[in-house]
Symmetry: C2
Subunit: 355 residues, 2 copies
């Protein structure tokens, strides 16, 4: 910790984690919820609404086997696949993935679920999923939804993951959070962490995204424009990882960017070489958002609490949404890929950290 | 060779290779041309015009060092970087790349050059490049141009390669092949082999592309739509590699698709696990080009001639353009990443091979 870090005050809720896996009814009786974490957030109908990633896996009492859930797109339902852990080709590199000679799999499958609250802290979780995997791009699940409201329509970008089609980002929309319309793949594989700006800039929509380049081993943030949310282009590299910083491993959009006097403020995530995920902030030019004005040298929040350090995948703070209200940034974040937590940071504290 | 293969007649030009590196004046006196190969083709102003990838490298008489060319985007000119081959971190896995602890590099840098012909065989190569690397996305060069003519405007998609930004596809246009307008990155990294359809289908433009997915190790073909050539979306996986076929390693668009009675015919390339590149054909539905109607089980042309088997990178036949005229497919192709060759195949022969 440097001297400077002392100047930021992070107000974590005393009720953290505010949503736990135990608060979520599984989508099937033979599945258990192992994580409820990365969530988009919006105000809707007098409430604060979270659209959350819920990760489930099949019950399994046999320690010799791993049971993997995955969608059968033709049958339209989730099936399971069993692997013998003694099989020499079976590799479990981290708790999220397995690799075998027949391909790779996720150990959980995620759907999107809504939680609602009057005060932003006490949430009631819907009993049923809002959106569940249903097509070939979503075979391994739907992840990390982000909500952008424009003219009363709520646009939801989310990751769709599958073995044959990689990691894509898809779009859906809703006006009531009951009926959802899917628009298919808006960013080709591999691309995730898509955050759509909440208003047009110079007549165009903009979005942040994080393509993965094998060739140059880059996991950097780009910005793209669109006339219609469906088609994206004029892609420009926005900013990269930084060697020997907390965000040297990978970076990606976090919350939906929001407008402040100085420009667009984006709360993004960065990971270290050992997969420790923190949040930082970047200020983009108001009229030319592909220009970085300033960026925090240190994280604005990092894993410190037990629920952030320990879980399904520990040492992770990851956000898909925040609210900017009363000069505060109210951040809903996934902690350790397990639960949802809440923290407030004064905007001035963040601005002070921008370099 | 199966019985069936005998039914296809490939008429290679007796003048092959029709363009050699020796036919191309280097862009600088201290560079030599090591390859003139993958080229887009169009009829323009009474001639057949090729827009070719020209790969150059610096003269180097010192076998102990490797000299790598690359653009300095700020200075706007190409500089060179020297590596000691004795350095233990220096790895040259194939003649196209080197890897060092400081990153990866291409051993050559490519620009785009025009060649013109009255008869389609005897070409005069322009003395100067048509387009040269000039921005950060093009730091390692411009490659594999494809030309799509729509309403008198010639749209050129090409790969832009760089260390920091990966492999992107960019767009340019021209009406006279003298002045070119750049439109920046239209497909995010890593993505290449972009072929734009030559007319609107149901009011939309379409393009084939080949994103690279690290996660699922896929190098498959997708199809995307656009209102304006700049922004692309509604991406759909079109077709994948095929295990134990000639195209099991990777596939990608080759020529611009052309309309025949039965639908859209696309001449694509596929590579084996050992990087042997051949061409095949796929028939797409006329009104719904995201539907594969039929695909050749075997290649329609494969490396057989000395100039196809031996060169800078041997055993490669790779096309960026063909002309469909007089019921023949006239294919201009890069051979062994070294020279340009020409072959004609009767359309009926290709149709007969479609399964």
């Amino acid at each position: 910790m440097t001297e400077r870090l002392k100047n930021i005050n992070v107000f974590r809720s005393e009720r953290n984690p505010i949503i736990n896996p135990d608060d979520v009814i599984p989508s099937r009786h033979d599945f258990k919820v192992v994580g409820v974490f990365n969530c988009g957030v919006t105000r809707f109908d007098g409430e604060i609404l979270l659209l959350m990633r819920v990760a489930e896996k099949p019950f399994n009492n046999d320690k010799k086997i791993e049971i993997v859930p995955l969608l059968d797109p033709e049958a339209g339902k989730i099936s399971v696949k069993k692997f013998n852990k003694d099989d020499s080709s079976f590799v479990i590199s981290d708790p999220r993935f397995i690799r075998t000679t027949s391909g790779w799999y996720l150990t959980t499958i995620s759907h999107l679920r809504i939680a609602r609250s009057k005060n932003g802290i006490d949430f009631i979780v819907d009993e049923e999923p809002a959106m569940s995997p249903e097509n070939k791009y979503e075979r391994f699940g739907m992840e990390d939804p982000r909500i952008t409201q424009i003219n009363g329509i709520y646009y939801i970008s989310y990751c769709a993951v599958s073995d044959l089609n990689g990691i894509t980002t898809c779009l859906a929309s809703t006006t009531d959070f009951i009926e959802f319309t899917r628009y298919g793949v808006i960013f080709l594989p591999d691309n995730k962490d898509v955050a759509i700006f909440p208003e047009k800039i110079n007549g165009k929509y903009y979005a942040l995204s994080r393509p993965i380049s094998t060739g140059c081993e880059a996991r950097d943030m780009w910005i793209s424009e669109s006339p219609d949310f469906i088609c994206w282009g004029n892609h420009m590299k926005l900013m990269g990882t930084r060697k020997q910083y907390w965000d040297e491993g990978s970076i990606g959009a976090g919350a939906i960017p929001f407008r402040i006097k100085e420009g667009w403020l984006e709360i993004y995530h960065g990971s270290s070489k050992i997969n420790r995920y923190c949040l930082g902030a970047v200020l983009l030019d108001a009229g030319e958002p592909w220009k970085v004005v300033a960026r925090t040298k240190e994280p604005i929040i990092e894993p410190e609490m037990d629920y952030e350090k320990n879980g399904f995948f520990g040492n992770v703070i990851f956000t898909c949404g925040s609210l900017y209200e009363e000069d505060k940034v109210k951040i809903y974040y996934g902690a350790a890929d397990t639960c949802i937590a809440y923290a407030e940071i004064d905007l001035d504290d963040i601005l002070y950290r921008l370099d």
